[in-house]
Amino acid sequence: MGAIGTVSALWPFFASLSPARDTIAAGAPIDVDVSTIKPGQQITVVWRGHPIFILHRTPDELKMLQEAKDTGLLRDPDSQQPQQPSYAANWHRSLKPEHLVLIGVCTHLGCIPRLEAAPGGDLGANWPGGYFCPCHGSKYDLAGRVFNGVPAPLNLPVPPYNYIKDNLMRVGENPPGINFEISEIEQI
């Protein structure tokens, strides 16, 4: 009895620290015109306070993704972990192969990885191009798939999104008929 009373009395204090109603409401979808993103270019938009990367991948880069899948360098090459909606659980982790949409938050401890699209360079001769997190050195490929042997455990998350017109993307909303909640993602 006493325990129940104590827990009920403490609950409001505990709950007051969770996100407030207006904080939760600030998560409305945003529209992005993707026609201006040239192949090889990436833009960053903000949704729910997170940076959202939208990358236009070149055909060469897409070809490399398919090869990378079989090299065994990736921790979760087939997107088995729930880090994306079902419609992005494919080899390119996106709706249209060329447009990659990611929540740009490292799954290790939340830094923002940077795009290092060019192969080789500072990151070693066998660097195939991808994302590099400066904080503790986690590496992802150009589909946001995490490499083995880095501190980050999971692929970069893909947010819900769809195309409401051919070149108009809506971030934060699923294609019609699909129910995917961002909370289903294992980890942002």
Binding site: T23, G27, R48, G110, C111, P151
Partner: protein, 417 residues
Amino acid sequence: MAAPVKQNKLIRWIDHRLPVFTLMEHELNEYPTPKNLNYWWNFGSLAGIMLVIMIFTGVFLAMAYTPQKDLAFDSVERIMREVNYGWLMRYIHMNGASFFFIVTYIHIFRGLYYGSYKTPRELLWMLGVVILLLMMATAFMGYVLPWGQMSYWGATVITNLFSAVPVVGNAIVTWLWGGFVVDNPTLNRFFALHYLLPFVIVGVVMLHLAALHQHGSNNPLGIDRKGPQDSIPFHPYYTIKDLFGLGVFLLFYAAFVFFWPNLLGDPANYIPANPLQTPPEIVPEWYFLPFYAILRSVPNKLLGVVMMFGSIFILFLLPWLDTSRVRSATFRPIYKWFFFVLIVDCVALGIVGAHRPEGIWVVIGRIATAYYYFHFLLMMPFVGWFERPRPLPTSISSAVLKGGGRLAGAGATMEKP
């Protein structure tokens, strides 16, 4: 009860109703202290003074500081430029955190060397570890308040440590933040807690002192006091020694405050927080570097977090991991060397923590992390078993009067044959 205190009528009147003077008399004047304490014993009182300085400057800073994400950075700059002597208070507080940690770390290594964690001082030691943890939490949250780039990204990385907890990790992080990213609610609660925790530390310090006064200070020989010939009253002998030490300490502290106020800080924290851009490198304040190095050395997220926190929690077990009954490393020929290697190891971890986790630094970091755990989990119990300690002096007096620990041989009680 010594008489002088009770001579003044007013004092007698008060003391009869509220025995504060009796208490002071008891804890300072009559409190018997080993007569052979060396300068390493100054660091406890220095830590206490640092706590007072931090609270004092902190309260005045809080009167000009604004815990709101769009205003926090500017309010700190305003403290620096517009508020009278604001720069002084901020520099005392900012460098104070560093000096508080220097003093506390020396205080802890003093305890490790002279075996101050051994019976009957286990709880005294454990309360000290609690203080260390609270200090770390306080310093971490304080560093977030100026809302610079390092504040923001440090807060992001450290709070995200909890996402490593299986199943409920993300829920915990969202709860800690009060949102989906580090944001205004986070800043607000950190300020409230940064104000509160130092007073909690004051409370634990009181318990720490109560535990200390139960059996009195340990001493460089690590043997118990056998009688009045081994002790001197705390006041005036150690009050004056502590004050002298304080003077020397303040020289160093003031040199930093007035001549190199930003030497220990990261320049990136003078750039306002930008949630969309991680700085090229996130480095915590120097006093967290060894722990950060452990975190980064482990290629598995959950294990890295566990090993980082474990490196402090392991100190709670120290009284039972150390199997030797001889306290002072002066009489422990093998342990003594391991102690110095541990210092080198911790410094190495600190240096690794300041470098990008690449190439040789990863290797050194992993070796140093493994060694840290080896020291506490394997070396401590085993060396305690097979080491043959040097003979202990019969009493503090005998060692002191004949001048030095070497001749301790005279009439030794051997702890182990």
